[in-house]
Symmetry: C2
Subunit: 467 residues, 2 copies
């Protein structure tokens, strides 16, 4: 027997739950289907536990500053690996419980704890049930990629699915893949005393494409643990149950390997072809990012599964757009936000708006400043890093920014909102900058761009605006 619903949402992660909230307002006839572990990637194995580990690592790392400040005993601080991991898990559990109590906990048979797959367009199999849905939201998330051969190394191979479950810190760890996850966790473990080696086949880290910012980031992070860039990693069984990780000429013996080399959309097991969904060369369907619709099908794809923006705030928008449009006769197009990417390593790596590699050198102005002499950064003992801004030569509008910066997460918001407002560098320079704050780093950069752009008034300092 077929159960008929208006909307079937596949996946009870962040995107699926955001979709659910919109669907619920529009119909009472829906199902949410998820056969996997509940609680969202963000709360269980993503944003939240990683930030806890980072916070602990930063607090411990701070001991290096205490001596010069007149605080004695910093060198006596000790890390208890089991307690660190217990704290990570405790807070993680709070965040997961919060998600569950707001979502699936009190759902009746509208929630189906099974994996779904398409039988034909609009028809899903979920466990014993067949669901006939007028529209479908696919929000099945993604899974860490681990080369099959490495799976044989068993529990010495970690991904974000396992790493937060550790009961103690490993003595040594190779981190393969230095994107957001690899950098955040690699640096945090390193600061907590784990002997970390970072490996990436790219010549950059944190997806930085601005060569100056990348060089600064590599230099700063590379001081804390070795970064082997530009060569692919290989893993072999070694003596004593350890693993030998090598890249080109270099190799190291480690207890564990964290594989953070990307995530694969959870699509295959849905049997998308049966629903008429074609996958492109990247293995995901083409979809309209303003409606989340796949082609002309009554199918909407939101969150990490579409392979685009693996970020909570984007998954929230995508889930809601998908949920709204799954209930609409004609899909509504919504504006998407100015890009913002933050890697919460220290200093933060932040990219806002357009990337340098997307911009035309001839029409783009670039300027930057480092933190060496910025008052507040000096006071914090965190005067390392570089901010670069990109502006349109003709209009003077800010187009993008890239940085490795103390408290870069906040600079990122300020710059992102400025791009959203289509501000020129002159308008930005005329905004208040308190003293002494990290935001002041933007002033010399903006000033340089104002001069280069020809927006600078002749008679007055550019940051003063005649009435």
């Amino acid at each position: 027997m077929e159960r008929k619903v208006d909307v079937a949402i596949i996946g009870a992660g962040s995107a699926g739950l955001y979709a659910l909230a919109q669907v619920r307002r529009r119909t009472k006839n829906f199902v949410l289907i998820d056969g996997g572990e509940l609680g969202t990637t963000c709360a269980r194995v993503g944003c939240m536990p990683s930030k806890v580990l980072i916070q602990i690592a930063e607090d411990y790392h701070r001991r290096a500053q205490l001596g010069r400040e007149g605080i004695e005993g910093g060198d006596q601080l000790r890390v208890s690996g089991p307690e660190v991991m217990e704290h990570v898990q405790d807070l993680r559990d709070i965040f997961v419980d919060k998600v569950l109590s707001h979502s699936t906990d009190e759902m009746g048979d509208e929630f189906i704890p099974e994996y779904a797959r398409f039988l034909e367009p609009g028809l899903l199999q979920a466990g014993e049930q067949r669901i006939r849905a007028r529209s479908v939201v696919i929000a099945t998330g993604s899974t860490p990629v681990v080369p099959p051969a490495w799976r044989d190394f068993g529990d010495r191979i970690l991904t974000t699915d396992e790493v937060f479950e550790l009961e103690d810190l490993p003595a040594s760890l190779a981190v393969i893949g230095l994107g957001v996850i690899g950098l955040e966790l690699g640096q945090a473990f390193s600061r907590l005393g784990v002997e970390v080696t970072g490996v990436d086949q790219l010549e950059t880290i944190g997806r930085l494409d601005d060569p100056e910012v990348a060089a600064s980031a590599i230099q700063l992070i590379g001081k804390e643990f070795p970064l082997w860039l530009g060569e692919a990693a290989a893993i072999e069984e070694a003596e004593d149950g350890r693993l030998r990780v090598s890249a080109g000429e270099r190799s190291v013996l480690v207890d564990k390997v964290l594989v953070s080399a990307g995530r694969r959309p959870n699509l295959e097991s849905l049997d998308p072809a049966r629903a008429g969904i074609e996958l492109n060369a990247d293995g995901v369907p083409d979809y309209d990012p303003n409606t989340m619709q796949i082609g002309e099908l009554p199918v909407f794809i939101a969150g990490d599964v579409n392979g685009d923006l693996p970020l909570l705030h984007e998954a929230g928008d995508e889930g809601r757009i998908a949920g709204i449009n799954a209930c609409s006769d004609t899909p509504v197009a919504f504006r998407r936000k100015t890009p913002l990417y933050i890697t919460f390593c220290d200093p933060n790596i932040v990219q806002v708006g357009a990337r340098l590699s997307e911009l035309d050198e001839a029409t783009t102005l670039v300027a930057g400043a480092n933190f060496a002499m910025l008052g507040r950064a000096l006071i914090m003992g965190r005067n390392k890093g570089l901010v670069r801004l990109y502006a349109d030569r003709a209009s003077g509008r800010l187009l993008g920014a890239s940085m490795v910066a103390p408290q870069g997460e906040h600079l990122g918001h300020l710059l992102n909102w400025s791009i959203e407002q289509r501000l020129t560098v002159l308008q930005m320079l005329r905004m208040p900058f308190y003293h002494p704050v990290i935001e002041e780093i933007l002033q010399p950069v903006l000033r340089e761009l104002v001069v280069k752009s020809g927006l600078a008034p002749e008679d007055y300092p550019p940051d003063l605006e005649p009435l």
Copy 2:
């Protein structure tokens, strides 16, 4: 003999130096006069050394979080008072040197290291020199107010002029006056182990006029050291060379008293009446804040001396405006910035734009949120505080904000720039908020204001914008 100049700048502090930069571009015939200690209030005895002390205190205070995070030995950390003060002084000296090397160090006889006073309009006496100036910039700063009777207690009475010179931390300290300075230094000393008692005759602290934010701030700061509010302080000589500080029924014995009850403009010794400058009831001349001109006189008044905005970034604007107009035939009016006040206590106290007491209840919407359950604040162990936003009921435009908030300094910039852009709460809600960040605290507040303002679209979540 009279020395004739185009412009005389009296005062080589921040405002005077900013004025100097503008004057230099417009004439070669000027003098800068300052008989006091050089290096600016900001660098010597204000923003900078206070931030150093606060940074040390925050780093030491953080030990309370270490245990739950699995870091052992936090209770073994010890403060060395002499080393703390030495670090404050070392960094302070770096900042002062930086100011001097950029300003008076290489000036010849254009710099006159004397106190100036007016003999008649346009005529100044500075030491042996008589200066005839076509226009004058008054940038003489301000001085901490200490009731004359308290001066008799000698070096047990401290102001910001003396406190950073201490060679060790006092065992006990009363802080009289809980504005910016009293709160910042009182809390920092308290966290470093000094037994601090705070006293203010007002019923609020940090100039907060929003009763809910004030209550939250008083509760949070009051947990760290006692705040005696609503009664004036008295000081008496006590046994053992200590001082007895009392307010109403309460009294305490202390080693030192920090008097942070306001600053008085340095005007009197200028003999302003001789220049035709009248002082108003507040003891300062009336002036135009857009030109900095006093009445119709060729005299401009910038920085702390005008009694308005004792903030570095405002002094910078005022100094430059004064400098420009001291060289102009007709004064040019410049736009002034949206107010931003930050007290760098922890959590930060921040006030942006209009104050609640300035707004009409009937036309203003107010909403707030506390940090108790905000993910990132929980992770930081800093989930205390309250943010309140004020919006115009008719237009939905953000008018102001008041908060006691972790990382409030950054929220303050984001909100201030939003007010400068005349954004509505709906426009703000549609901006990107990353996850998990402190900025997310604004989302529920903005959402509530969007609903209250009637700006919320009927069909869609307000933070999504249909194309």
